[in-house]
Assembly symmetry: C2
Homo-oligomer: 429 residues x 2
């Protein structure tokens, strides 16, 4: 097979990154995307518009020399700014070293940079507005509907990569196979995005270099900075709790709730109830499946293989790391073996970050305002500062290293015992 035919379904963050990895190795790839070219359209209102880029994502960008192009659009977030109900704000740094920083970046801008980079390669052809209807795994044929003409087209490929997100169409071909394990688990909370604008003179109205959290135990508001001086706030709240989305049905109810729970954010956002009813409420699920391939000809990566909740800021980072690790395998053992072996290699790490992302929701909405949690966190940071080679906090390992997620999880469990011992020996707490 001198010129194998390769298709990537989905030109989002994961798919467009993958195309560049292929092109840099001299492979020709066709990339199919359901949506219009993101470069020609306004941002979707209410879609997750900024995200946290950290070590793993950065490493994957560096491998293809894309980091320099992305860096100017990254806003460092050095820690959490925790907003209490009484209006006080405390700052909790993320790490112990200068480079222990995560970065806010616009999903749209990052995708645009990757697509523009892809344009530089003759080997990459991106086909927009092609909706994948089906992947026929027996004949290895992809079926698309053109979103302009409604024309159906069929394409045979030797290798198909499904980077088409949590609701992957490519995954449906795997669902039809016997013995395909699959789960989708929604959490009881939904989310709603609201824009907190910049000041009239274009300045940030909250501390710029922080991820802001209003932890309220059962629910929370967060805010990430944007390049234009605004913040994107996201409310995470039960659908049918007290309070809950199902309960907030009038402008009055929404305003009363925000005024009570997030008085500073309420004042700064200005038109809370207007945005609240204009923007959709999104749901949040963990999607797990296994295996991620059929034989040696189709493979899922990124959210299509393992969608996770956003509370560790690792969805995109994990997807980018997938791509980097997949090409490491491809370089070592060839594409067929890389496809066949990838989920065996990576699945346990996807499961680990899925679990840690769920656990981190509790940390963000509740623990960050808990004195005992804060005391333990302080000890962890002290241990890490004094002896960074032998102790790293779970947050540090996830966000600032490439230690496989499954190993991070195990070491995180060990950490708790180490902190227990420290407390006993030092009579701390």
């Amino acid at each position: 097979m001198s010129n194998p035919k390769v298709a990537i379904v989905g030109a989002g963050l994961c798919g467009s990154l993958m195309a560049i990895y292929f092109a840099q190795r001299g492979w020709h790839v066709d990339v199919f995307e359901y949506r219009k070219d993101v470069r020609g359209v306004d941002a979707d209102a209410g879609r997750s518009i900024n995200m946290a880029l950290s070590h793993r994502g950065i490493e994957a960008l560096k491998q293809i020399d894309m980091f320099a192009a992305v860096e100017p659009y990254m806003i460092p977030m050095k820690g959490r700014a925790v907003h209490m109900q009484d209006g006080s704000i405390s700052f909790q740094p993320y790490g112990t070293q200068k480079n222990h920083v995560i970065y806010s970046i616009s999903r749209k801008v990052l995708n645009e940079i990757l697509l523009t980079a892809a344009d530089q390669y003759d080997a990459i052809e991106v086909h927009f507005e092609k909706k994948c209807l089906q992947y026929d795994a027996i004949n290895q044929i992809l079926v698309f509907e053109d979103q302009q003409s409604s024309k159906i087209s069929q394409h045979q490929y030797d290798y198909v990569f499904g980077t088409d997100g949590a609701f992957s169409k490519v995954r449906k071909a795997l669902m039809k196979k016997d013995r395909f394990n699959y789960s989708q688990d929604y959490i009881p909370q939904g989310y709603k995005e609201l824009c907190l604008p910049c000041s009239d003179d274009g300045n940030f109205l909250l501390e710029k270099e922080a991820l802001h959290i209003w932890p309220r135990k059962k629910f929370m508001l967060i805010a990430l900075p944007n390049m234009d001086g605004s913040f994107t706030c996201t409310l995470f709240l039960d659908y049918d709790g007290q309070p809950g989305f199902d309960d907030l049905n009038s402008e009055d109810q929404v305003n009363t709730f925000f005024k009570r729970e997030f008085p500073d954010a309420f004042a700064l956002i200005g038109n809370v109830s207007e945005q609240f009813f204009a923007n959709p409420t999104g749901s949040l699920a963990t999607i797990r499946c296994d295996p991620w391939n059929i034989d040696n000809h189709v493979l899922l990566l990124g959210d299509a293989a393992h969608a996770i909740v956003p509370f560790f800021g690792q969805g995109m980072n994990a997807s980018f790391e997938d791509v980097q690790l997949f090409f490491q395998q491809l370089d070592q053992v060839g594409i067929d073996q890389a496809i066949v072996g990838f989920s065996k290699l990576r699945k346990k790490d996807a499961d680990a970050i899925a679990l840690m992302a769920l656990e981190n929701f509790v940390e963000m909405r509740d623990s960050v305002s808990d004195p005992s949690y804060l005391a333990r966190r302080k000890i962890a940071q002290k241990l890490e500062k004094e002896n960074p080679d032998s102790f790293q906090s779970r947050y540090t390992m996830v966000s600032f290293t490439s230690i496989p997620y499954a190993e991070v999880y195990q070491r995180g469990v060990e950490n708790q015992k180490i902190i227990d011992t420290y407390i006993l020996q030092n009579k701390a707490l």
Copy 2:
């Protein structure tokens, strides 16, 4: 709504039972079945052809006066006949009372009895060879393809019940809804059915009134008696273990494996390798989802809602109990509330029996030949015999009572502590 239109999709065991429950309450129901009328066709080779009927299934049959019709076809199994590799056989009674018996019954015969009973009601119309293509939940329209004419037909119903099994088409409508939780988890083992024939003069070649087990730790063979003097044997074995289905590729390999592991069964079956390659290998999954309804107009019951592995012999019994409990609700609160509330009521029990069925595989293939397990089992039976009101084994509660499965699970955990205490106090073991 004086004459609500009711459809049941699937005329297997659960759907045909449900139709009779409706008809006895004066409701008209249309029942749609993909397959031909089971009464006109031979049994599917290699499909699960007999099953264990116990208390919960029997109670559901009694509610509609169907038990008398079924009873003549039931073969009591009073316990496990455990076949060791050295040829020795030990008998382990299932319970402590005379009526602690489970019954082997043919799936086909039971389905035939229920369909014939359904024929007696003008209110029931069964439509065979109608393949459900889709349920359009927004317009409440069922779409079928006639398997003879290939004609497509559409039908509007007020209430749709999906009793169409583990690979339910009705469930696909629920999959399209936001926030539908779903999982399918395959176990690493597959199964293969083989017929152990009767003697030339029509007699049973193994003890008739027992469920036979050949426990071999990682795998096992079981056999259930049939009315014609034969047994249906089922081999449960890893796909890719040592040994495993993937390894047994020649007649020689199969015969060598059976001769070594199940010498008595091998001799009695006669043509093991011939049947082995003629019959399919089946996979085994647990399917969980939540909720089981959309609003008040569609509800899944039985395997469509909660398919489980067969190791507790409770798949059919749980489905039948679903039907009985659903109509208890319907009688009390009306059909709309019964549909809306059913999965809240029943889901935890479905989850509990799913888990117990998985755990029972370990018990059957391994523990039944373990001295420590047998000693604990003996204590449990002694406690149950001496004080049946305060102690019942988990097996007894599952198979011989209507205690909700979730409560059984909890009490089973308590039981282990009670047995621990007994051992300590009596220095038993």
